[in-house]
Amino acid sequence: MSIATGRATAPLAAGTTRKRAGILSRIIAHRTDYLYVLPALIVMLVVIAFPIYYTIELSFFRTPPNLQMRDKIWTGLSNYSTVLNSSVFHEVTIQTIIWTIASTVFAFLLGLGAALALHREFAGRGLLRALLLIPYVISAVAASYVWKWLYHSDFGVIGAISVALGITDEPINFLDNRQTVLASLIVVNIWKEFSFAMVMLMAGLQTVPDQLHRAAQVDGANTWDRFWHVTVPHLKGVSMVTILLLMVANFNSFIIPFVMTGGGPADASHIWITHIYQLAFGRQQWGVASAYAVILFIVMMTFGYFYVKALTRGDETRAGD
């Protein structure tokens, strides 16, 4: 047994070292090839690596009284403790999690419903599909302004309709209210994002073989059974990708809260990115904002690592077993 393992590992180890040496010598042997990609590599370093490095550097400094960052003051890790001990950070984190999960879940479910509805053939399908795509193609800033007016407590259409129908006595104050503001913004975000999920899932639905549905029909499956046993398994892959993309987009949301409320009232609609923006460009706390960004970066990378790992493991078992 031990002999067998010894035999098995020895050539493997030799192989890896040979391969390492091989990469270096290959680079030298193909140096002209690497010369060709060098400009792209330099651009990548400048636009990606340098900002990351500079953010990390700034996170250890404090803004000087003259606001010139060349005179920045070293503070060590105090920016990090400021962020982590701040009650606003905790509040904003919870809001960001609510924002991300609620937006992702409902945008996905709504998109799935729309995709399933549009998958059947009916008169006016093309028109409806085009209409449902409008939120996705419209500018987020423009949409935010429109929704701000729809929600407006004095002139808003939604308030006027609810009063006219007798649902409420007076227009609801959606945005200028700590209790309702986050939910109201999430609704806008869902409206903006569900058509993305719809497009992805519509593409996914087209990969479900028609014959499987027919087979299931003959096997006695009703519409729900067919959805559950035939459609859902086929949508697994595209659903995972869609949810990942939605999550990333929602963690990094900025435009809707920034344009509609600026994070207010009293930080009730701040999410991470708007809060960082406010700290950096509103209060000139570059160091604190950078520390904040670094913390987010770590959180996002950890999250992304595990998600992608789960995603690829699923792929491997699907392809392997």
Partner: protein, 366 residues
């Protein structure tokens, strides 16, 4: 088991008739092949029997029930599809169990039936695998198992062998035939391969352009094709067809080549058939094995020119131009013959076919 009756079945999409007034009866335990070229309506007919697409007209009965308005699941049918249509995310066991699960059978009964079916098809060792881990033949067997496990009245099979390679197809062909024999199952089988139909079926329904051309045993379809379409579709190589004119001189009737001028005297029986032609033109049909090749002119033979020679081992096929048509003739492999050689071809008056030059229908002696 039950019989299947189609009466005046129609399926049209606007002006396009995919299935046009098709009627036939599949008896208990009979194996019927629906055969025809692509787009002839055979798969549509099968889907109509299954209830997967709505009919435009006519009636379909399975057993003693009219099933026109019943859902596929209520028709007591099982179907085997061209691409097997196995559920890719389910194991073989779960694939077989699915139709029983949908009928809400108790767990123990499902396990028993699945194991029985698996044993019958020799796939017990595959029950834990996923479909993609199986070979084409194994997947085909699982698809058969999923149909079998429910003990349906009728098996519907939609080109189940067309995705297999040639060797496996021949093997699965005999397995399906055995399967039919063992279960005494009623089977409706769609194929575009006339050889499959001829070798497997008790009866074959030859379709073309949405119309049922002929419904009979393979032997009868082979021996008495009702029209030139059936004649040229069934048999390999196909029956050779030569368009000719009818020439009558006194009491003698013969066929004349409009291009080459030669005449072929007919036997009294064939003369009566030829004289029944509606426009004085006939299509002469002959199978390769009924023709004799001569190097010199002999009575009853017509001239031709060799086009190609195809040796296949135990028989050699020669293609000969006769009056502008290509005629297949089978020869003993020892016969040496070269392209462009001038030859004479003798017809067997007993086994030649005469079709109407206009309607293409087989001519009957008046």
């Amino acid at each position: 088991m039950a019989e299947v009756v189609l009466k005046d079945v129609v399926k049209n999409y606007g002006n396009v008739y995919a299935v046009n007034n098709v009627s036939f009866t599949v008896e208990h335990g009979e194996f019927v092949a629906l055969v025809g070229p692509s787009g002839c309506g055979k798969t549509t007919t099968l889907n109509l029997i299954a209830g997967l697409i709505p009919m435009s007209g006519g009636d379909i009965a399975i057993g003693d029930r009219i099933v026109n308005d019943l859902d596929p699941k209520d028709r007591d049918i099982a179907m085997v599809f061209q691409n097997y249509a196995l559920y890719p995310n389910k194991s073989v066991f779960k694939n077989l169990a699915f139709p029983l699960q949908m009928r809400k059978l108790p767990k123990e009964e499902i396990a028993r039936k699945v194991n029985d079916a698996a044993k019958l098809l020799d796939i017990t060792h595959l029950l834990d695998r996923k479909p993609r881990e199986l070979s084409g033949g194994q997947q085909q067997r699982v698809a058969l198992g999923r149909a079998l496990v429910r003990d349906p009245a009728v098996f519907l099979m939609d080109e189940p062998l067309s995705n297999l390679d040639a060797k496996l197809r021949v093997q699965m062909r005999s397995e399906i035939k055995r399967f039919h024999h063992n279960l005494n199952a009623t089977v409706v089988y769609v194929t575009h391969d006339q050889l499959e139909a001829v070798t497997m079926a008790d009866k074959m329904a030859v379709m073309n352009g949405g119309l049922l051309q002929q419904y009979d045993s393979p032997a009868n379809v082979f021996a008495h094709p009702v029209n030139t379409f059936v004649a040229s579709f069934v048999g390999s190589p196909a029956m050779s067809l030569i368009p000719l004119d009818v020439a009558t001189q006194g009491t003698e009737t013969s066929l004349r080549s409009p291009e080459e001028g030669w005449e072929l005297p007919l036997s009294p029986m064939n003369a009566r058939k030829a004289n029944a032609s509606s426009n004085g033109k006939v299509v002469l049909g002959a199978r390769h094995s009924t023709l004799k090749l001569h190097r010199q002119a002999v009575p009853g033979a017509v001239p031709g020119k060799v086009y190609t020679v195809e040796p296949t081992g135990d028989v050699t096929f020669a293609q000969v131009f006769i009056s502008g048509a290509v005629v297949n003739i089978s020869l003993d492999p020892s016969v040496v013959i070269a392209p462009d050689e001038k030859v004479w071809v003798e017809f067997d008056q007993e086994r030649m076919h005469l079709f109407d030059g206009q309607t293409t229908m087989a001519l009957q002696a008046a």
